[in-house]
C-alpha cells in the first residue's frame, strides 16, 4: 500500500520542520518528504490542502477501562476515540480491574489492542502488587510483557520505605516510574482544591501542600536512588517551582500536565458540576498560569489527556459521590491548540508537547515524521470549529467539563502504520 499525502503543511517538531511538503508512505513507513521517490506510484492520494500534517499524537495517560470496567468503556470504543482525536499511541495506567500487575494481563491487553489495528497501546504496569503500595510487582516480567514503565495510578505509596525500594529497584534496571504526586493523608476524602470555592461549597479540600509534600519525598528519593521519574499531572504553582528546581540538578526528572488543568480552575465547578470532579483537583488561576508558564519554559515536558471515561450513572450523584474523571482523548489536540493560541506558542512547539516529547518520555519510537519511521500520522484542520457534545464524541465516556464548547482543531484523517484508521 502506497499513500501520497499532498499539499499539506507538514509540522514535525523532532526535525524542526514546518513547511508545505508532500509525504510519501510505503509499506507502513514514511519513505520520503517533499520529493517523490523514483518509481513511487500511489494507491491512494490524500489531499491535505489547508490542513496540517503532523506526527500521530502520543498520550501519556488514557484509561481504556479494560479489563474489568467494560460498562464504562471498551478497548474498541476508546481506541476508536483515540484515532478520532489524532492519537496513534497511548499509555494506559494500571488501575484496571484486575490491576495490571500480572504479565498475562498485560500480554492480553497488548494482544487485543494489536488485533484492533487502531492506536498503539503501551501499558504502564502496576508498581506494587494490587497497587497497595506494599510489595513490588514483578517489574522485569511486566517489562518483558510490554510495559513501558510503572505507575501507581492515583494511589500514592504512603510508606516512604517502599517508595525508596521501588525507586532503587526500578533504577537498577532503568525503568521509568510514572508517579502522581499527592500525599494521601492530607488528601484523604478531599474532592476539590482546598481554597475559596471548596470553602463556599462546603466540599472537603485537597490542599496544594498535598502535592508539594509528595513531590518533596519523591524528588528527594529520586535524587538518592538515581531512578528515572515522570511526574504525572502536576497541578500547583508550587509543584512547578519544585520541578524547575529539581531539574537543575537531576536530569532524570520529567513531568506532564493534563489538558484540563491548562484551561480550568476551581471556579469552573460552578454549582457543583460533577464533570469537574477530577484528580488532581482543579486549582486556582494562579496555579493555572504557573502550569502554563512551566510548559512554555520546558519545566513541564508534555500535555496529557488524562482520559477517564465514566458512565453517566456514575456522574449522576452529588459532587463528592460522583465518580472522578472526564473524557479526553478526542479533546487533547483541540485543547492543546487552544492553549497554544492563547499563549502565543507556535504550532510546532505545541505539537511537540503532545507527540515527540511524550514519545521520548515513554521511550517509544513514535511522535515524529523522520524518514523510515512508522507512518503514524494525524492530519487536521486547525481552523475548523466543532462542538464538544455527546453526539460528536466517539468515546463511551461522554462526560467533560468542556461539553457544549465550540473549539477549533478538527482531525480529518489519522493513519497508523501507513493505513487510514480514521477519516471524518
Amino acid at each position: 500500500m502506497k499513500i501520497h499525502i499532498k499539499n499539506g503543511r507538514v509540522i514535525d517538531p523532532k526535525n524542526n520542520l514546518d513547511s508545505n511538503l508532500d509525504v510519501f508512505i510505503a509499506a507502513g513507513k514514511i519513505v520520503a518528504l517533499g520529493q517523490c521517490p523514483d518509481n513511487f506510484v500511489a494507491n491512494q492520494t490524500i489531499d491535505a490542502s489547508n490542513l496540517i500534517v503532523c506526527p500521530g499524537l502520543v498520550d501519556l495517560s488514557a484509561r481504556l477501562r479494560e479489563p474489568g470496567d467494560e460498562y464504562k468503556a471498551t478497548l474498541v470504543s476508546e481506541l476508536q476515540a483515540a484515532v478520532a482525536g489524532g492519537i496513534t499511541s497511548l499509555a494506559c495506567p494500571p488501575d484496571t480491574d484486575p490491576v495490571l500487575d500480572e504479565p498475562g494481563l498485560v500480554e492480553m491487553l497488548k494482544h487485543r489492542a494489536k488485533q484492533l489495528n487502531l492506536a498503539h497501546v503501551y501499558p504502564l504496569g502496576a508498581l506494587t502488587r494490587q497497587l497497595q503500595g506494599k510489595i513490588l510487582s514483578e517489574m522485569g516480567e511486566l517489562r518483558e510483557a510490554g510495559c513501558v514503565g510503572f505507575s501507581q495510578a492515583n494511589i500514592a505509596i504512603a510508606d516512604t520505605q517502599v517508595l525508596w525500594r521501588a525507586m532503587e529497584y526500578a533504577a537498577t534496571f532503568g525503568f521509568t516510574l510514572f508517579l502522581h504526586a499527592e500525599e494521601p493523608f492530607l488528601a484523604k476524602d478531599g474532592v476539590a482544591h482546598d481554597g475559596e470555592i471548596a470553602s463556599r461549597l462546603g466540599l472537603k479540600g485537597i490542599p496544594s501542600a498535598a502535592e508539594a509534600l509528595a513531590l518533596a519525598s519523591i524528588l528527594r528519593i529520586a535524587k538518592e536512588t538515581g531512578a528515572r521519574i515522570h511526574i504525572s499531572r502536576l497541578s500547583t504553582a508550587e509543584g512547578v517551582e519544585m520541578i524547575r528546581e529539581a531539574k537543575k540538578h537531576n536530569p532524570n526528572i520529567s513531568c506532564d500536565v493534563s489538558a484540563n488543568q491548562l484551561h480550568l480552575t476551581e471556579h469552573d465547578i460552578g454549582f457543583f458540576d460533577s464533570n469537574c470532579h477530577l484528580k488532581p483537583p482543579l486549582r486556582t488561576q494562579r496555579d493555572k498560569e504557573a502550569l502554563s508558564a512551566g510548559l512554555k519554559d520546558g519545566t513541564i515536558n508534555a500535555i496529557c489527556s488524562d482520559h477517564t471515561p465514566v458512565d453517566d450513572d456514575a456522574k449522576l450523584a452529588p459532587f463528592a459521590e460522583a465518580e472522578i474523571g472526564a473524557t479526553g482523548l478526542e479533546l487533547l489536540l483541540a485543547l492543546t491548540l487552544k492553549w497554544a493560541q492563547q499563549e502565543k506558542v507556535s504550532l510546532l512547539e505545541a505539537i511537540a508537547l503532545v507527540s515527540q516529547s511524550s514519545a521520548q518520555i515513554l521511550g517509544i519510537s513514535a511522535g515524529d515524521l523522520s524518514s523510515n519511521s512508522d507512518a503514524d500520522i494525524c492530519i487536521f484542520d486547525a481552523n475548523e470549529y466543532w462542538k464538544i457534545s455527546t453526539d460528536t464524541l466517539k468515546s463511551q465516556g461522554k462526560n467533560t467539563p468542556f461539553s457544549g464548547l465550540e473549539i477549533a482543531g478538527k482531525v480529518k484523517v489519522t493513519l497508523v502504520h501507513g493505513q487510514v484508521v480514521f477519516k471524518s
Binding site: E196, L201, P318, F319, A320
Partner: protein
Amino acid sequence: MNNPQLDADGRLRHLLSIEGLPKKILNQILDTAESFVGVAEREVKKVPLLRGKTVCNLFFENSTRTRTTFEIAAKRLSADVISLNVNTSSQSKGETILDTVDNLIAMHADMFVVRHAQSGAAHFIAKHVPNHIHVINAGDGRHSHPTQGLLDTFTIRKYKSDLHNLRVAIVGDVLHSRVARSEIHALTTLGVPEVRVIAPKTLLPAQVEKLGVHVFHDMKAGLKDVDVVMMLRLQNERMNGAMLPSAQEYFKTYGLTQEKLSLAKPDAIVLHPGPMNRGVEIDSSVADGSQSVILPQVTYGIAVRMAVMAILAGGG
C-alpha cells in the same frame, strides 16, 4: 451561569442556598414570615395557601427539629405532608437519590424538602426535577442550610431594629457548618457591616475571610462589643481527635459562659441552631439566661419555613 434558584423572571424557584440570592428576595421571605408569625397564635392555626399540594420531606440524614418544623409549617399552610427518612443503608442497597425522587414525583409530590449528608445534594436534585416542582434545601453536607440562616436573621431582626448597625460573632465549628455558611451569606447580603468568626484554626475552612468575615481565634477579643452571638454546634465526633484535644479544653477556650458573654454589649443576644451540647459549646446559664433567644428561634423557624413554601407555591 444561570442561577438555578431563580426562574427566568427572577422569582424564587428553589431555595438551595443563601449565596446567590438577591437582597430583595431575602427581604421578601423575611417580610412574608412576619405575616405568618401570628397564625400560630390563632385558635385555628391554619391558612389555606397550600391546600391540595403535597409536600415531601425527604431526609437522607437524620433530623428531628428541622423535619418537625418543616412538617408543622406545611400543615399550617394546609398542605398534605409526607415525611420519609431515607437512611443511608437503604441507599447503599442500591436505590439512587434520583430513583427515590422519581418515585415520589410519580406520586405527584409538588415540593421537596431535602436533607442530605453531601454538599450539593439539593442542587443535584433541583437540576433533575421537572419545572413545576420546587426544592427546598433543609441542609446539604457542609454547604448550606438556607432556612436556618433565614430564621436566624429573622430572629435578629426581631430583637435588633437596624441590621446596618450590628456587629455579629459566629462562634465554633465553622469548617463543618452549613449553618455558619448560610448565616454569613444572609447577614452580609442584608447589610450587616461586621460579621466575625471565632474558632481555632482547625475548625475554620481555607480562605474563610473571602466569605467576607473577620477572623478571630481569641474568644475574648472576638466577643468584644458584639450585638449578636451565634453559637454553632460541635459534633461529638470532632471532640477528640486531630481537630480538638477534648471537649473540656474546647469549653474552656471557646465555650460561651456568662463571663465571656459579659464582654459583648450588655443587650447582646445569643443564638444557637440546636441541638445544644450544654457544657461543651455553651454553658446552661447562658442557654437558659435572659440574653438567650434560642427558643424564639424555633418558633420563628416555623414562620420562616411557611414563608418560603408559600412564596415557592406562588402564594407569597
